[in-house]
Subunit: 402 residues, 2 copies
Amino acid sequence: MNPEQRFSERAKGREGSEIRRLFKMSMKPGIISFAGGMPDPGSFPSKKAAEVREAGLRERGEILLQYGAARGDDRLIEVVLERMQQKGVEAGPRNVLITSGAQQGLDLCGKIFSDPGDVLLVESPTFIGALGAFRNYRAELAGVPMEADGIHLERLKGSLEALRDRGIAPKFLYTMPNFQNPSGITMSREKRRRLLEIAEAYDFLIVEDDAYSDLWLEGSAEDVRPIKALDTNGRVIYLGSFSKIVSPGIRLGWALGREDFIDRFEMAKQMMDVCPSPLIQAMVVGLSEDGFLERHIAELRGIYRSRRDAMLTALMRYMPDGVFWTKPKGGFYIWVTLPEGMDAVALLPKALEKNVAYVIGMAFHADKSGRNTFRISFCHETEEIIEEGIRRLGEAIAEAIR
Amino acid sequence: MNPEQRFSERAKGREGSEIRRLFKMSMKPGIISFAGGMPDPGSFPSKKAAEVREAGLRERGEILLQYGAARGDDRLIEVVLERMQQKGVEAGPRNVLITSGAQQGLDLCGKIFSDPGDVLLVESPTFIGALGAFRNYRAELAGVPMEADGIHLERLKGSLEALRDRGIAPKFLYTMPNFQNPSGITMSREKRRRLLEIAEAYDFLIVEDDAYSDLWLEGSAEDVRPIKALDTNGRVIYLGSFSKIVSPGIRLGWALGREDFIDRFEMAKQMMDVCPSPLIQAMVVGLSEDGFLERHIAELRGIYRSRRDAMLTALMRYMPDGVFWTKPKGGFYIWVTLPEGMDAVALLPKALEKNVAYVIGMAFHADKSGRNTFRISFCHETEEIIEEGIRRLGEAIAEAIR
């Protein structure tokens, strides 16, 4: 049996990517890993979770272990709506679908909006998981470069005009306006407004991935108000996540948008995995009571602020001249640009020899550009280890420059 | 904004199906529902689950709340492999992927194997969730009729020949050989062998959905050995589920097959929802220790045996002449055939007036045939209520015949 001939077009030829090989290389034990996006496990609310879950199962096991509503638990949807209201987004229960993390929201956007060959706009660089989700629907991904204050709007308009000349209207633009994964860049408020105007003018949807906004490390929540808060025409589908504020192992997020969009998402999700787990949803409802979650998030900000600061300080200290990096105001990630002509792919084995890992920038570009860039994350290691890891990384780069 | 024009081809025109409308009508409060496939909530192992979960979270919260392996937890995969070995299937860890219920396995089969327009073979009737999952990939679904001992092999061969004349090779055949949802029919052992031979001869894959096999209510586990146990050529993708033996609210199942297939499933799943919840997986591992799960399943058999018997007895007593039904040896479902020319769709409002609900047979057919059939489930109501519900149903049918 030749298995390859049996696969769908979307599944063919996926096995041997360089990116996957490099990911696997980066997972060796004992390494200082700036590669992953795993939150600090010491920060998880395990004790509180045990308390609320235990009570729930003993008292309401008959409900929590049964099939639940495809759309999600009403009480968790209320929690989401309250959080969204604090972000300036007014919506009702029929605007929300609980998902298995924001990743499932991305899969649903691909499924509901895109046919093979459709053009989707993405930031360049952008989240790997979005590239993968959209590629599964055989969309053509057009990258738009980033600037220090977010997506490059003139370049976006240029792409839109070029597409229009070819008779193509993109289905949606995917953006992560706050502390973008991988660049750490935050879109300015002015740009959010203008992006929405451009979406109106060229008539495409915006998929707004806001997985990190609660982890602002300076300024205030006002600075990270979502594009959705400006959206009066149902043009934005907002994707949220509990992964970074509760834990990723619970696999819960949400999609928020027009009722008719969310209805389709619900119908599709029923045929994907029936419903989110009522048990886990009840746990998050429990964690949201009495202000626990807000206090918890404030603690998380403290943890990640120290780590970000440690990484930025170490970068200043150890990076050779000609290396540049972003200064994120929140989230998990810093984006490093090596001198033009240097190759982060070739550098990686040298960094791994020194037991430090990052993710090559190429992985985050729809067109596999960005060879002189990489992503490092400050979420997972302690301050001391961050300093040591950046020291080693600086050493590896200095040796490669020489 | 015209939302309809923004949807992908797969998502268009899905909103207003008659089947969805009838489903919703059947969910009115106070009704005796034979419609759903919800297990008896009183049977859920809530207390034991609370114990293992609470301890797990307190001792291993840092692991259980973190991202896990995309493929699933090693320990749960071991549990799966042991259960599969008992069913006569020898496999290794690389043959298994943990899924969000068997439904996600169906979604993955559609995603990995089928392109728009591809022909997939299904039993007629078949599981609604499979029809929905495969339709999301815009497959053409060809139904093959069922007999008392499973899929009609001569009709299958006829379909295969007709397709071959058109130059079409189906990608796979989807079957539920044990206590099929919706018909309750079990495929004979001889037919399983012959079906596999036909798959070899015509070179298609078999997707075997085995969600109910542990709930055999007579005979023994030997009678329900999966087709996968006969498969020496990697032709069968087996889908299992913890929904019926632990609880559906945990959303856990598995896919088992050739390594190269499972590798693709894993890559696709990563882009769908990253990983299954380590927390929930650990709970199921805990429930599997010290023989608890086996004892629990034996108890479930007792519960569902009484309910099945109560329903069969009531059908004998209350159904008018000319009505036929299957006598399932396990699972949750009985399939009822009304006299030719009668319409189960037209009957449903009359049944609902008497506060009893079923699912119309049409919903389970790829071609929407089967209008004189419906499915009733004995899983959710107690013996007394089952008798009363069947009495009312018999009354409604008798009135319609008159």
